[in-house]
Symmetry: C2
Subunit: 315 residues, 2 copies
């Protein structure tokens, strides 16, 4: 909603410096350190490469007829059995040529191999665990976790585990249903459960799903390719006509790909002092004289608003 | 993420009743009262028709080449000067044949008549207030308001004013930046300010915008037509090439339309006992024996998760 915020700030600075051309404006030496400055100053040791064992490469056929790639980071610490089965499904190309069959506005995009009556439209690979553990939560003890100071009603403490938002309640840890979170759709609690069908959150946080279902990963690139998909007109966002379904061309595990097809991502260690500084800056926004904002901020970070810093590695 | 939740619940019930056919299953008499039941039982006096003076009919050209309609309810109690100018702009057809020029993923869709350098691409109507009051907040005193019991860090109290989410902090009321909220884009705080350019929230709540900008309405129908628009590739989601902009065919005030083109909406009075019951049900979800959910819920309603009940009037 801000119009050209950055451009305008620079323009104001340029005016102060007595030059009208942005192109020749002096660097904004007097300005406060930005988040970008903080990140750029991080030592190399603050970054770690994300394992290809934890990356799903999802390629869909966009409505414009072109393939689109979505990259999901899996969370084996939070849902180990589920992640193992998802890796196996990707290895066996289970999801190739299947469909995204449900897109519910401000809620989820859902895909996989089941129809609405819980029939599998494709055979599952030999060796599939048909009664997978439902990993809705896990003990907080033993989990790598960085707590945030910010309190919320849904849990006792929020924070991050690796690159994932995590909340802890009554000693059990779980991933809150924030934008981009990936989980496993299920029927009734005592149904067979295989992780053959997944959903991705494409709207506002749906915290009522926390601890009710297995959250197993998070989209780290390309979420917009899911967010723009046409919404289904049927009950709960299912497409009225299977012809409208969105085709999934392939879902592959990074470590099953040739190195030439892998994309190397690195994440700023969420346990690093650099990341703490980024969060602190975001939590304690300050008004400055050259600032678009006018009202004092409440020093609070919502766990769903904390975005780990992940980037493609250079070169 | 739930697969056929309703169908499955019914199927289970049908199984209990000893019948295999959903088509002949007895009505679920033993089930608890649902939100739909509560709403259906509301007396007619709980519903009020939304004034056409407060409805904007926005028609855009979708990527499929077909027109799409988005209906916005304006909030004159929260931003009276801004709403008056928006009505005037719609009356003068200012936005016809203009563009949505920015769609930023998980954030905003923005449109209007300004370019990135703050030049007006169209003349504003004669009589336009070029220095509109910036109605970021208003005194809570005198505002029609229903408080919720739910606490949050961003304000002293949250609730509803008419069909709008409202929060109050230090005696000042404002609309939180929830999904579907419509506001007025602006440059720096001391810039000219006309409400010629508007934004719609299409992602997670952006509460850092609260009290920093004028929120002036909320989409009550058709938000999905904005949410599916291609994201802009330029900085902050602006379209790289103006050719990619989304065409706005028309924006009209309901009361400027012939009655045959008006859509009559009615809203469940947010001050009614019925609405309180709906909220209470949503806040205090209970686990039942025939329930998809398994974990106890935290009895908390986020102000952005409260959706006023608005429907097209029958007939």
């Amino acid at each position: 909603m801000s119009r050209r915020f950055n451009a305008k700030s620079l323009a104001k600075l340029a005016a102060l410096l007595g030059t009208l051309s942005l192109a020749v404006a002096a660097p904004p030496a007097a300005q406060a350190e930005t988040t970008v400055d903080i990140i750029n100053a991080a030592p190399a040791s603050d970054w770690h490469t994300i394992s290809q064992d934890n990356l799903l490469y999802m390629t869909i056929l966009g409505k414009d007829g072109l393939p689109k790639q979505i990259i999901i980071e899996l969370a084996p610490e939070l849902a180990p059995q589920t992640v193992a089965q998802i890796r196996s499904f990707a290895h066996h190309k289970l999801w190739d040529n299947t469909d995204i069959y449900r897109v519910d506005d401000n809620y989820v995009a859902q895909f996989g191999v089941m129809d609405k009556d819980d029939n599998y439209l494709k055979p599952l690979p030999f060796g599939t665990n048909m009664h997978l553990a439902q990993e809705f939560t896990r003990p907080a003890a033993g989990l790598s976790f960085v707590a945030l100071q910010d309190k919320e009603p849904y849990s006792d403490v929020v924070g991050l585990s690796g690159n994932f938002p995590v909340a802890i309640k009554d000693g059990q840890a779980f991933m809150p249903h924030c934008y981009g979170v990936v989980g496993v759709s299920r029927g009734m609690p005592n149904d067979n459960y295989t992780a053959s069908d997944l959903y991705v959150m494409i709207g506002q946080p749906a915290r009522h799903l926390d601890r009710q279902i297995t959250a197993t990963g998070r989209v780290i690139e390309g979420i917009e390719h899911l967010a723009v998909l046409p919404r289904g007109g049927d009950d709960m966002g299912f497409y009225d006509n299977p012809k409208d379904n969105i085709k999934i061309l392939a879902i592959r595990l990074g470590s099953d790909l040739p190195i030439s097809k892998q994309i190397q991502f690195e994440a700023l260690d969420t346990k690093s002092a650099t990341f703490a500084k980024v969060l602190d800056k975001r939590r304690n926004r300050k008004l400055t004289t050259d600032d678009w904002f006018v009202a004092e901020f409440v020093p609070h970070l919502d766990v769903c608003y904390v975005q780990p810093k992940i980037r493609r590695k250079a070169g």
